[in-house]
Subunit: 291 residues, 5 copies
Amino acid sequence: MILPGRAHLGHILHYVGKPLIWLLAWDIAVTAFWYLVDPVWLEFPALPVTLLGSAVAVYLSFRNTTAYARWWEARTLWGAMVNTSRTLARDALTLLSDRDAATAIIHRHIAYVHALRLHLRRQAPWDELAGRLSADEVERLRSVANVPNAIHTRTAATVSAARPDPILLATFARTMSDISNAQGGMERIKNTPLPQQYSAYPAIFTHGFCLLLPLGLVETLGLYTPLGSTVAGFLFLALLQIGNDMQNPFENREDDVPLTTLTRGIEIDLRDTLGETHGLQPVQPVDGILW
Amino acid sequence: MILPGRAHLGHILHYVGKPLIWLLAWDIAVTAFWYLVDPVWLEFPALPVTLLGSAVAVYLSFRNTTAYARWWEARTLWGAMVNTSRTLARDALTLLSDRDAATAIIHRHIAYVHALRLHLRRQAPWDELAGRLSADEVERLRSVANVPNAIHTRTAATVSAARPDPILLATFARTMSDISNAQGGMERIKNTPLPQQYSAYPAIFTHGFCLLLPLGLVETLGLYTPLGSTVAGFLFLALLQIGNDMQNPFENREDDVPLTTLTRGIEIDLRDTLGETHGLQPVQPVDGILW
Amino acid sequence: MILPGRAHLGHILHYVGKPLIWLLAWDIAVTAFWYLVDPVWLEFPALPVTLLGSAVAVYLSFRNTTAYARWWEARTLWGAMVNTSRTLARDALTLLSDRDAATAIIHRHIAYVHALRLHLRRQAPWDELAGRLSADEVERLRSVANVPNAIHTRTAATVSAARPDPILLATFARTMSDISNAQGGMERIKNTPLPQQYSAYPAIFTHGFCLLLPLGLVETLGLYTPLGSTVAGFLFLALLQIGNDMQNPFENREDDVPLTTLTRGIEIDLRDTLGETHGLQPVQPVDGILW
Amino acid sequence: MILPGRAHLGHILHYVGKPLIWLLAWDIAVTAFWYLVDPVWLEFPALPVTLLGSAVAVYLSFRNTTAYARWWEARTLWGAMVNTSRTLARDALTLLSDRDAATAIIHRHIAYVHALRLHLRRQAPWDELAGRLSADEVERLRSVANVPNAIHTRTAATVSAARPDPILLATFARTMSDISNAQGGMERIKNTPLPQQYSAYPAIFTHGFCLLLPLGLVETLGLYTPLGSTVAGFLFLALLQIGNDMQNPFENREDDVPLTTLTRGIEIDLRDTLGETHGLQPVQPVDGILW
Amino acid sequence: MILPGRAHLGHILHYVGKPLIWLLAWDIAVTAFWYLVDPVWLEFPALPVTLLGSAVAVYLSFRNTTAYARWWEARTLWGAMVNTSRTLARDALTLLSDRDAATAIIHRHIAYVHALRLHLRRQAPWDELAGRLSADEVERLRSVANVPNAIHTRTAATVSAARPDPILLATFARTMSDISNAQGGMERIKNTPLPQQYSAYPAIFTHGFCLLLPLGLVETLGLYTPLGSTVAGFLFLALLQIGNDMQNPFENREDDVPLTTLTRGIEIDLRDTLGETHGLQPVQPVDGILW
């Protein structure tokens, strides 16, 4: 996640820089051609440019709304994970009479959230899990398709083994189900990219629109065509780029939902709740980016 | 579901290809007619084209938003099915003392999700069910209107027969109800197409708009009419087509929510949870499409 | 509910036919007046038409979004009724030890959904209820304001009378509450039409806009005014009409949420669950319309 | 709530009448000035009018969507109150063995919804409560900040005093919590007006836009300026007024959510459920308005 | 929160005053340059201004919708905190037999909401907590990362220590979980600013657009350029500023969700419920602002 204050004009130029330079080159080429060759037969009037601009804006506007909705839902699901993690820890400590079982459940859950982070980012969880789960269990996890879900199921067995009153066991089952729902929601976003029609078309149409733009403007704008056309193209390319950035929030890129920060935060909260002296610090931003 | 990377320009041309060729032919015909016949009485000015374009954009924009919302809700409901399936399996294994009953419940539920997939795609479930349920039950299922619901009801009876503590039975009843809600939501989307007004009108208006487009542009665009008109028509036709693709997510087409992949995934998760050696692999995309 | 395939151009013409003929007549009259009287003083330029068109589009776009949201919420609430009905039947059969009580509860609930359908359509429920409830109860129902709610309350008493374990009674109470929530949501949509400002204004403004349209177009469009103006008016009138159709989904009109189909479906599902041989068939569309 | 059929053109004119007359006067003044003074230096061309119109439309469109969302949420929360009231009554009668306690709870809840209505409309509840609660309790209520919440808390004590099975007590606690959530939602809407930026700015900008409109149109529209400008201004002023009407739904105005009707309906439902002969009739509209 | 009636034109001018003065100066400079230097080579026509205006409006419209959604969600989460606080207090008093424990729980919860307010505004909670919690506990809180969560966990331990029936303990656990969810939602909004792309870009583009505006208008507007350009710029700058104000609702600024008022209100409600004579008054607005 890019923190406020980092995105200045320079950053944006870097951001859409490459297509923008090509666009500028194309705009200058069209204008030069117009003035040097003086093609009386080249009369591409303004109307379709406005019409096309509206249609492209419909695509980009829809795409951006949807991409942001995906990003924010991903963040909200991690927020739900934070909340249910706290609830699980609180319930373990206050509803179970067996303090050791409570500690085990909470430590297992910390391992779970780290495994979930690595699962979503398609990274190997083994180093992270080595110190947190028994070697036996880690070995068994190597044969399952969904590592965090397997950890979670065994945490539920740990809860059952503590033999709480059935009603309290049902309360835990509810919390465990809330956690499954949050995980499943994240996997849904990870495994289901925006349909290609919404993802590839806007790119093609925006680029096509930027190519047509100087043709449509050169007659009226004359020598100012590169300026006008590049500025307008910049806006559309930036809109396109924003959608690209936001649509996939678990890709280990700078626009990710900050999973490392969130899982570290959950670990700190849970170990604080246990009263442990852990010495962990919240993740600090690197170059204005929170991972 | 079409995977990223597959939708290149060629695919899109194939996608709206046929109407596009007709459109291009029409655009050329209008332009030719204009230049050859030189009809002084044909002065269809630009204004209504813009006005019509805005009105058509309102239709298409609404239609696309709604069609995508249907697709995403369908995907989310299947996500809920994934989550509740995991919860059902976890609860069966950790809340019931009878391991055989738990295994039976989980196997029944795997049969249920396959039956639901085939039910939504209006395909016969009998082959799929033959190896998973008793011949007796399959026979009885032939006389009911809603096969997956009948399987689900009997799974609930299996849970009851395991005689858990009433509170845990109530917990299962809640999970069973969540599953019914997910199924019902999918059936709602399947059985209730987008109202015809939102479905048929945009098609008629977009096609009509594309027919009027060259008439409105030819005076100002001249020989560039086929280019300008076809490009603009392309954008509108593509918007129309996207809505068509997304609105019905359970039709066994390439734009479907990937039911085969999802039900296979549920089976793998559940059998992993049981600790079975199943040898099942996730569904692989075929030609960039996940079914 | 109008099924796909029925809404062809002829249907649409029928749909907005009457206002369209008036509109065409008006457009021709304006054009004729312009050419015959040649009023140099009639110079209504194009600008306000575009401006008015945008403002009218804001109204219609908002109205359509809202009208569709009402329709879809109505459908979703009936979907919830389908789901909770199945849950109620499943729980009655698997959680109650008394099979007769379960059968009574399910039969009562079938009577309830039929009564609810007739209640929403403001039709007398007495014929439908005669064969399903005791004469005594039907008599008592004649004195209450809300017949389905009274049936539902007594079903709850039947559940209590079966003396389930308190926790299972609580589970039923939850399901009964979900049913009340669905019914209440439907009544909300039925009793609270779209505020008149959103309902009457768009009609007035759209009609007004269609009247002004030829005045604004005739100078530039000339003899093509009736064509251009009628086509544009058609789009706006159709947008207006769609909103009209969708906003009230329980009016016994062809655009209704298909209550008869849905309640029949619930009855089939529930009697299938009971294992009854009922001989009921799903409702078939009549002339492409599902009631 | 204004009922359908009441809002005819006359009503609308009355609705935005005063600003409209001022607007017409201003439009005529500008046009007269233009023709009489013939100011060659007054050339306010059309472009900014379109640009401003778009920007104002963004404000008004957002404002209307939000205002309607507030109104509909308020109505939905009252719908939730209707539903939970029925559930509370049904549960009291079917889950409690003590019929007197059930009757007391239901009567107390009727007092609660009337108190809540008066609380939201900032009216004194004492007359309404006098006949419904003991003089003692009414006296004590005079010292608390939130009268309905205090009534509700004591209803919960009445439920506890009936000593139901703990699980059924928990079921009641859930329903009481649903009621608190509905009340809290209503208070949120009442106490948190739309932020002033969204409330005051649209008014200022719309009025400013209407003032500039004839200046921008007079050159092209000439003598038709008052007509064109007033019609366009009418649309924008009406959009503005609709947002004003909808944004605060509990102000005892004709656009209110019909609280009197809703609370009367709850009382009828609950007393019907008790089997009382109450002689109450639903609230009838007065001059097409339901209060 | 700014109360109605305060935002008059003067306030708005103050609001976007500084950029507006710069804008006016720039507009006058461009106009003066145009008339004094008479640059025949400066012909920046109107088209790109409209095109750019549309693109900028897409950014601002999206940004404002999202910023308001954040603000309203923050308010709704505090509304949920109000509701669950009342439910916690009601349940403590009516479900627990131990009145002292109930009082302790309610007093602890009052401390919690104050700590949460200060936590969200990044202010030290120690003064507020000193009189409300034991010195011991306050001391321990100094070592945890999340003070309100630690208070909340210990409140849950107080509930457990009162040894209610397990089912009632589960009811409390649910309420405690609702409170955690509300807190977590607030922290999500606090810790996850709007992505920089949506936050920084609109500012840059709006300012850039305002700079280009007079260049695009001066040819047609002439001496009226400063008026037209400043009015249009004003609308866009105000739209930009509104988004800025709303997007971060917990910053101790005048546009904040009124946390002080809300927490005071919760304290009054809860102490009223306890029947305490507290002498607390609702927070009064200061200069039309509610903190």
